[in-house]
Symmetry: C3
Subunit: 267 residues, 3 copies
């Protein structure tokens, strides 16, 4: 049984994040860069996008957390991702892996597996990505998930067991698994998958929380805060277009009341 | 004379697209990636941005359509574009070429011409791009067009005749030409050229329709639906800033009534 | 003492910019591309993002101004930046340097210094970037600034003296320094640093003004117009999410009244 972690604990983590304003080093995909940066700024973190092999190690050294997202990977980027992850591991810095599209092509699956071997603190993906990374025969369809998060919970537990990471699998209900068992996070909204890079942004948020909490608590806090912001934001939207900007506003204005109204934790 | 294709046919194509949710493989420019992904999601398609030479062919194989946009080209990207287009051609997958900025520099013009030789299903550009690709002495000014769509209609017909593609040239009035003749699409709004990457996003929309209709019908449907969404969206805007997010909302909510109110087809 | 330059002069520069619609060549970071393009379009300029070594020199030749921003630099991009800057210098085209994150890593600091040696017309950065580029021991924290603009004014003056550029340092109050002394621009809003790439977009705006005014006047005009747009936009926002799209609308609608209400120039 995992240690209990309540919404009050989640909000306390957010207050610490806002006070510390962690520098989050993002090596992420081209699609997600702008929205991830805006989400991190609205949350209270300080984002930087830095990917050159010539400087990633130096940048990890001055950062509070790292997120590696393989969405638009290519060989020079994968080299930089590995160097940054190794440096984070060596320096005891928390780092988050988002294995976007794992299972869609052999190149992508291989890159994700190689990164997963570098001791990520947290792995965040959708059901088909986590199942593929865990070695299941996932039904990947591009970067969108065809499996429910329920289907993937067993794969997440297996992946957590093998890597030591906290594994967050997101879907209708989100789950965070580590070796102590699962926590379920009930939040979010059906419009969210219709706006690009929100999952990627969530991974960046997870890294920001990992600067102020241990991996499992960081992942639960990130999913609850981001899901609550998404749910609150969707109420102001007539379609997916405005969702990302509304989510930024909700993150910026997040209160214990909004969190309690839009997120729920269960085991 | 082209086969008649009405707004009712356009809406039927949209319904089929929403039902099938085609996976659209985008090799596009950095500026357009995020808005193209959001537009495709709002429309009802499933976008993926994948450009590494190591995986583009594998990804074409699992996709329903491909769009190649040379906006921010460089040699490794051009190599991937060619491989992907060749694979699409070999596999009978529809693919769309957007020759952004063709005519602005010799490098760009050469890359566009080489891609146009790989049997694209559809070519979508503005007047100066289409005129340049057709071999006219176009008056390219960066990526914005200095010629009217009317001026380019002859060039589009010539390009369609030479390549076998359906050629869509967009401006105040849009035209789709194939070897059977032109269709004119009256839709859109004067604010649209003041918001970046909407033309690129339209090319992505064209690819999504090409997954459910033959090239000419796909191009007409894309121009009508996107133009109607743009026109409806502009009514909610006080400037170009909100236009892309309003367009996403309008695409998501598109009805036969909105389509009829904001788009018209003529020969 | 610098030559006097009033808000009426600023608005006159904006009118000239709108009439001329300068083509601005951007070699900028992945995060900023989309918002910079939208900001330039709303302002009245014509943006293009072109970075391949194979075409940057040809593109500088047809452009009215160039902006080089090192935000997500890597070796092939730095090569292109240098070639483009050299071509601008040789051709007498104005060019703007934005040394994003200068001071954060040796690689980044070295690239910025090498570019600063190529006679930029204008250098635009935050306090820690300008202090680092001027050779001060800056307290860089990623890409966000830890020093006040006041602290950096001396560094800006020193950098202006050494390079001959007009140096714009932005913060609570913005300053433009050249060899004739400083101008202070009072505009902007506290929400602006919470939305990504607005500083980068401001550098692009500075390049657009450099197509129609000498460097110092261009920098002052850019800071006043962009700051006024930001201040007016913030009044319509409940958080940082909507800020960039509101800024585009305000730029598009900018009047002498809005400018006078939201910006002030002092020495």
């Amino acid at each position: 049984m995992p240690e209990p972690f309540s919404l009050a604990d989640v909000y306390s983590a957010l207050e610490d994040l806002r006070a510390r304003r962690p520098l989050v080093h993002n090596i992420t995909n081209y699609v997600a860069m702008s929205v991830s940066a805006n989400v991190l700024l609205a949350l209270g973190a300080s984002p930087a996008m830095v990917h050159a092999v010539e400087e990633v190690e130096d940048f990890v050294a001055i950062s509070d957390a790292l997120v590696v997202n393989i969405g638009t990977l290519s060989p020079p980027w994968v080299t930089a991702m590995r160097k940054a992850a190794e440096r984070a591991q060596a320096g005891g810095k928390p780092w988050v892996l988002d294995p976007v599209g794992c299972g869609a092509t052999p190149y992508r699956t291989g890159a994700a597996a190689a990164l997963a071997a570098l001791a990520p603190s947290i792995i965040r993906g959708n059901a088909s990505e986590i199942m593929s990374l865990a070695g299941e025969t996932g039904a990947g369809k591009g970067v969108d998930s065809l499996s429910s998060a329920d289907d993937a919970r067993a794969a997440a537990a297996a992946l957590a067991g093998r890597t030591g990471a906290a594994v967050a699998v997101t879907g209708i209900v989100d789950y965070v698994c580590d070796r102590s068992g699962p926590t379920a996070i009930h939040a979010g909204h059906a419009l969210m998958p219709l706006s690009t890079a929100l999952g990627c942004s969530l991974s960046a948020v997870t890294a920001a929380f990992a600067a102020v909490r241990p991996p499992r608590q960081a992942a639960v806090a990130a999913l609850a805060v981001f899901g609550a912001a998404g749910s609150a934001a969707a109420q102001r939207c007539r379609g997916p277009g405005h969702l990302p900007v509304e989510i930024c506003d909700e993150l910026y204005r997040m209160t214990p009341e909004t969190l309690a109204q839009h997120a729920r934790l269960t085991t």
